[in-house]
Symmetry: C2
Subunit: 452 residues, 2 copies
Amino acid sequence: MKVVFIGHGSSGWTAATTLRAWDRAAEITVIDKKDYDAYHPCAMPYAIGGLWEDESPLIESMNYQMMKINFLRRHEALKIDRQNKKVTAKNLENEEIIDVEYDYLVICTGSKAKTPPLPGIDGKNVYALKWIEDSARIRKAATNASKVAVVGASAIGLEVATELAHRGIETVVLARSRIMRLLIDPDYANDTVKLLEEKLPKLKIIVGIGINEIVLDSNGMAIKVTTDQGDFECDFVVNATGVQPEVTLAKEAGLEIGESWAIVTDDELKTSDPNILAVGDCAETTHLVSKKPINSAIATCCVRMARVAAMTIARPGTLKFPGTMNNFIVPYIDLRVGSVGLIKKAAEDAGFEVVSAKIKTHNKPPYMPDAKELYFKILVDKNTGKLLGAQAIGPDSITDNLNVVSMGLQSEMTFQQLLEADLCYAPAVNETIYPVTQALEMISRKMLRRQK
Amino acid sequence: MKVVFIGHGSSGWTAATTLRAWDRAAEITVIDKKDYDAYHPCAMPYAIGGLWEDESPLIESMNYQMMKINFLRRHEALKIDRQNKKVTAKNLENEEIIDVEYDYLVICTGSKAKTPPLPGIDGKNVYALKWIEDSARIRKAATNASKVAVVGASAIGLEVATELAHRGIETVVLARSRIMRLLIDPDYANDTVKLLEEKLPKLKIIVGIGINEIVLDSNGMAIKVTTDQGDFECDFVVNATGVQPEVTLAKEAGLEIGESWAIVTDDELKTSDPNILAVGDCAETTHLVSKKPINSAIATCCVRMARVAAMTIARPGTLKFPGTMNNFIVPYIDLRVGSVGLIKKAAEDAGFEVVSAKIKTHNKPPYMPDAKELYFKILVDKNTGKLLGAQAIGPDSITDNLNVVSMGLQSEMTFQQLLEADLCYAPAVNETIYPVTQALEMISRKMLRRQK
């Protein structure tokens, strides 16, 4: 069996190695434009913040020779010929064109940074953080910078901004609407802005701003950003307007593209062509709560999809992809912000009537000397009492609370079921009444008092 | 409606206040022998370790006057008259006998320390850690002690031992069988012993030892423990042989006592008398995985039971108690040990055929400078692929991983379903592939490879 993977990001790498673990005989080929092995993109902001000297700790040496995986580095996939089941690729070193046959093709082309239609966005020192080369560029630029403008307020863009401000650089984030628009509710977006600005004196986040232009000098270098609230001088600009799925090849091959602009997949990760699978940032799947199509550009979703895709090829039917909830957590220095399931607007758009509860509590009992403040919010469907989503701001243990809700969502639990969930407690690690439970007690009062 | 609570530990306190939150009119009476408000027993070992000057930060002032709860402190409940629905109690200050009528009675009599049939166990300086007075006694004794012997190796007894050793006291734990016998598997018990002894040079844990006697001096003070492996001198002794349900009153009232020696309850926490409920350490419930009767002496179970009991009275039928899994986590200085669901022996006793996977991994990616080692183990039923339980040793984030399994157990998930669960990831808070997922990948290989 010949299996070809296009793309060697988190999805491609996980899918190829998982397939090898389950099938010693498959002829596996990986086609990728880059000249290095796999790397950990989620940790790039820490490199920019100066946690390491460079990005080398993030590169994973794959030993594909030992795994008998044919890794075509510096090769660009040009065309998918579905009729003859082959991929045409170009060797970027010597321009040689080759054809690679497949029984199964797995498209792992990932995503690309959005380019907003803003004059000056093509400036030589306007950086989007997408590839490890971008991380190196931003990190090097930061060494000599005193002022940086971040255009847009994606979760990761904001992470870069906090790392730059933490380094001592005057960092201004300029966001047209608000921060993390699709990931958290407006109230928690505001709270996050407030907490981050308190924590980082060098950080300024301006939302609801009209951005006119990135002004370039005669060398094509950005020197300031002009807006309807004045000009912001800068040594470089970070484009943090988010990513979009890279589906050029799939589209040209006539594969079905969904309403999220990504490649439609089923619960085995098969596309509209049963010999072609798609995983990761380029693939569309189903939101577990809203049941609507979603393109999740989140690492965990990539890895989960990759695992199922490999099993679909190696052990058909043993593992299904249930969909995703876009669960995420982002670290801003020592503060974490996260969300699972649907935010309020997404829940309302999906037809739910939302009852929510919001609390400020602690990560452990307040009598513990190292207790830290923690914000937690939970959303429930008024009509069925089923969970819809949760959001949190605080220290590490928000992950625990969010994952508990995430598991409840995956089992379509009601608030009563989650309220009585059995969890692990010790004063050293959690509040006596978990933040999630405290919020559910409030939901309980809202939902049941009415009924009396 | 008249509601009487006997006992004011974690269960009694939570049940009474929850009832008040839901019912402003109920006449609530709490009967308790003690002379102080509620307190947080789980944090007593830290007080012994010297985290605070005394136990006062652990005492919770209840303001029962404002809540209109009639708190009969220093009263001992002597008898339950089911016929006439009243409790006879004695004022311990003036010996006055009173009768308190009830429509509902909630028994929250908790547990008491086991007293092993060991000569000298009644020594004046032989302490079990059950009440806040015990904590104060042990803490004070520790101030002048240089050598301590701990008899038994319950999870909490071991916590006291680690706190004493951490203070610089030569602490020897003498255990007849092994540590935490009902809570973790033998291999993880051994690993815990090894890790604790490495961490704490003053701690020595001896398992499989035959204890002969606690030798008392002429003043009735313990001076050494004699065993089949020699004598151990000590300044005081900690009795850490565990607890047993306190059910004297319930038994005398003819309520059904179960095979775990605790009061039988249904999913509304009603006993064999529908006007009497029982919650907490004195109550028997059902193990969620084995479906067998269990008496859980764990704080989270108390609180969950208390909430349901209050709702059974205030809003009948709105909240059910699903049972417990004895989930626990214990902090040993900066190491945590925890378990959810069934351990191997309990699973086998319940008729399951166990497939397990055990890994050593990290709490975050090894490229992160502060990554710490983490042990994780998961048990699955060979025949159905359903989860049975998990155990972990490591830093704080074992809680997160254990709670994920706990949620999966509560929804009776298979290993495949949990393998594809959507969780929150960032390199700052977790491993790229969660420990639980790594272990499930191993389970997957064990379960599915066979089938080929």
